[in-house]
Chain length 338, copies 4
Amino acid sequence: MNFLSDNAASPCPEVMAALVTAAPAAATGYDGDAISQQLDAAFAVLFGCPCTVLPVSTGTAANALALATMVPPYGAIVCHSQAHIHVDECGAPEFYTGGAKLLTVPGTAGKLTVAGIETALAGHRGDVHQVQIAALSLTQATEAGTVYTPDELAALAGHAKARGWRVHLDGARFANAVVQLGCHPADISWRAGVDVLSFGMIKNGGLLAEALVVFDPALVPGLRLRRKRAGQMPSKGRFQSAQLLAMIRDDVWLRNASLANNAAQSLAAAAGNRLMYPVEANELFLKLRPGEPARLRSAGFGFYDWGAVGSDEARFVIAWDTPPEAIGALAAMLSTGG
Amino acid sequence: MNFLSDNAASPCPEVMAALVTAAPAAATGYDGDAISQQLDAAFAVLFGCPCTVLPVSTGTAANALALATMVPPYGAIVCHSQAHIHVDECGAPEFYTGGAKLLTVPGTAGKLTVAGIETALAGHRGDVHQVQIAALSLTQATEAGTVYTPDELAALAGHAKARGWRVHLDGARFANAVVQLGCHPADISWRAGVDVLSFGMIKNGGLLAEALVVFDPALVPGLRLRRKRAGQMPSKGRFQSAQLLAMIRDDVWLRNASLANNAAQSLAAAAGNRLMYPVEANELFLKLRPGEPARLRSAGFGFYDWGAVGSDEARFVIAWDTPPEAIGALAAMLSTGG
Amino acid sequence: MNFLSDNAASPCPEVMAALVTAAPAAATGYDGDAISQQLDAAFAVLFGCPCTVLPVSTGTAANALALATMVPPYGAIVCHSQAHIHVDECGAPEFYTGGAKLLTVPGTAGKLTVAGIETALAGHRGDVHQVQIAALSLTQATEAGTVYTPDELAALAGHAKARGWRVHLDGARFANAVVQLGCHPADISWRAGVDVLSFGMIKNGGLLAEALVVFDPALVPGLRLRRKRAGQMPSKGRFQSAQLLAMIRDDVWLRNASLANNAAQSLAAAAGNRLMYPVEANELFLKLRPGEPARLRSAGFGFYDWGAVGSDEARFVIAWDTPPEAIGALAAMLSTGG
Amino acid sequence: MNFLSDNAASPCPEVMAALVTAAPAAATGYDGDAISQQLDAAFAVLFGCPCTVLPVSTGTAANALALATMVPPYGAIVCHSQAHIHVDECGAPEFYTGGAKLLTVPGTAGKLTVAGIETALAGHRGDVHQVQIAALSLTQATEAGTVYTPDELAALAGHAKARGWRVHLDGARFANAVVQLGCHPADISWRAGVDVLSFGMIKNGGLLAEALVVFDPALVPGLRLRRKRAGQMPSKGRFQSAQLLAMIRDDVWLRNASLANNAAQSLAAAAGNRLMYPVEANELFLKLRPGEPARLRSAGFGFYDWGAVGSDEARFVIAWDTPPEAIGALAAMLSTGG
């Protein structure tokens, strides 16, 4: 019973079907085919504003391309000290930007605050001897499975904009956040001040494509060229586009995220005071009891230790396709004391 | 009737089926799943030697990652002046290598020769004021639709090795070359001195995955890290691996390439003395007669002008799935004088 | 008798004196001292227009910083195929730009022409699959010891500007060109369309400082940051600034260049029909007679072979401080047949 | 009375004299002249072991070049969170390395400890999703004006070496540390495990040259090429070499550092319990009393505020040439309560 991650889940049927539909030979390659040509309009409807959508093969590529388009090589990106871009992408932002620096800021439960940013950057003078802060990168849902409210996001983005910084949103689990908030996707993207969104599809039932959603048209030309140059512009791009369109058609993305979020809530109820953070998406971070990790593993549950060695802290991730029986079994075990 | 390129062809049925087979959730992400774990062994059988196979999303990524692993930032790559890496990848090799230089060498019919390399590089001193040549990149089949013999490749690779250069093979149409030569794939890869092969699958019936085949194990650790850092290590990597395995199982790759090559031969016969180069793969380069390009387009044939404006030079590419009727129609039109 | 290069000449007395004057401790470091603060105004007078002057330690740094400020990583720089930036800077432009490409154009006697550029770039489509041309880099005096007229320069720069390219001038021997033309320095810099000039001082009697002269203020902020980041902003910057000011005060730079140019003219007269190119600066390129290179070396003259092995082509460079006796001896030997 | 920094001090007479001696034209440029050719042997005597010395124009260039030679683009450098390379070099290490990451570690009084490194890096897994730690960069004397003992340095370097990391020492104030410790320069460089030393000259009486001292010959070839490519290989290199040789001849470097260190000790005595850290080099960090900063500035003393706004923390730096009267005046004022 796999609670290690949502990143190896099955693609949902609609995505698989879309690949079949895209199979016949296209008239042109890259982004010129009829399917890819639908992307911008479809996402504009979804987000309620014009936007440009560029498919890429991974979330790491999405994040790094977005940041490289916003930040000069002598620039800096402000992000949470646990941000995926800092911790888990093997330096992709540094590579794509040509050597920009990530300035990390701590924050409770995976969240940044304006006050936290101000404190962490108090000593940053910003003169010619220092890197120039040029972007704020936020993660929604956060690395701690929590979710910024639209007001929290807007406050952070407003702080950035007032300083001339761009705003990037790493939305590897954007769908889970939208479901949790019950908001319009615009409320936690362009309306809150986000310039470029890495809209995660793969963890939520996709296959081999993520969506870069660009709300500021000024960023598009450079981004297209960087994407090509990075080897992120496949000749059979219609197969990426088809996945993205299948995910947003008929609210498939929201259905999938709801499945995962709801299961997470049932587990949260069972976990009780073991919860380290509120469960607002599809992840639980638990402070297990002594011996509990071993007992859970013996019972067949897979999950990651998360904190310091011996801390008994653990992460459980629920995917859109995690079997209800596995959820029930884990809930039962947690309810009865692990 | 599309002869523009083979890069928007349909995926072959075996590849589509492999995606379906890979659909169920995997135990682990990235390269850890059971399908991805089969790659190295399967390709070792195919090539007759141990190798490491890393899937990537595009040929551009394959080439640039290979070169970055071989060449320091202050290095140089020798390649044909028409090489895809120089002309059509928006500077991807420069990006991935951190700013290495491509030293281009002209050559008839898309081919390099040792003599041509020596002439072009005669003025390159290689002292501390100059970039350091560190790799030779060859293309097989070439950009002119021709094919190096195993002996020609071995001579070029031998020249490189004697100078301490690494050897990269851009095999976007490697399958077409193997079919043309009737040789073992080893004969034009590791046995000829190739260190890393960009083994093209997408043009030949694949979908969203190319294979980097690494014959020198010393290059593997750095390549793995660069691949991750480039955003080329998808979490659902099994869907890339499944495509690659489907292509090489039961000689699907050779069957597909044979379809395209054979059709190209029938067109070559029809084109007669319009041929600019021998037809040795799945591309024809024709010096058309005055007015012929317009007549062909009126008749519904799509193809690219290739030479200088007004030269009436044109490129026709045949894919594995180009309909026989289209082949027949084009052959008929060429036979009767365009 | 050293005719190898002007790059190891002695500094002129005015430069040495300026170092002594700058010796007392300054109130502040970097560019904040009283001497460095004079740079912009002094060069504005010299060039007859506002400009920003940033000292750097080498011509390579000057060129690469200028280009990096003008060209994105996915960009390209058009330059002569013999340009120093392409041939002799170990890939510095690629390093500083983050991997831009140099597109080289051949040209007689070291000079580019608009027609030559158009021919060489005829096949460059400039779509998303290709690097984006963003700058033209010219060399004045050229690598062949020739000099563009103001009209020639303006035509080339105008061609660039009409296409949205920036214009860089590598003026390692800018002084020699100004002397030769008898023009105002503005005539072959900003007035002709140059955005940034690498104003060479070191070969012409300087010591350890070159001047980056920036005519477009929009380029200045990024250039300052790149200069710092490159380790090209010394804390005792006053010693660089002092050298630059000493060179332009009282026309020292013109005096020095005149010494070298005049000597070159006397040698040109002696060389007669051995001259490969017109002598318009302080370099002679000679097609020597069989046996002549050896005879000259036996007689104590140092110079570089320049063309293919066995071609008997040779380069002779005259510095501002080349002893008149050495000039006379070489002229005599050339006059009498080498 | 300037206590802002030692970075705008006057060059010492020996350095100025060396420039004059180097003035006559050299036979060859770059590093080929007779003066530059003395460097390796002279420093080998100084350090008691073979080494290669490469002059560069700034400390930033020295540090960044050293790190780029040690660390791949996907690598990481462990350093103190206040390290100059992280805080004050505008991202030079990221630029030169091609985007490596600096992993910062806090530490009391500017010093790292093995335990501190282990704690800070406890969460660093080092798998393919993360940057690969490849070097430890230490600063001696530290940013807090303290000095590692040879044993402390050896323990840190030993920790690094045991993990396969390279060791870099930022010795912008290396001379002050040697004087303080009364040790052989080898004791806090190669004998302690340092691979490359950025040997600071400029703050200690130099002018426009720092020394990169390379103890591991395997690093030299790459470093030479990176130095050229960075525009850090001046054609009149003899003027950099002459400065370096003048500094180490007759222990000038130790004499200069002693002047500064001794003055710092007399000020430390006057500062009493205002001292935030032990004074072990030429810098004082003081927790001044309320109102004291203003009073000191009124009395004509220049210095930097150092901590949070309103903290009354301040840094005073003494240079080799700080006038004794200024030292005396400051000591008197501090003794009497500021």
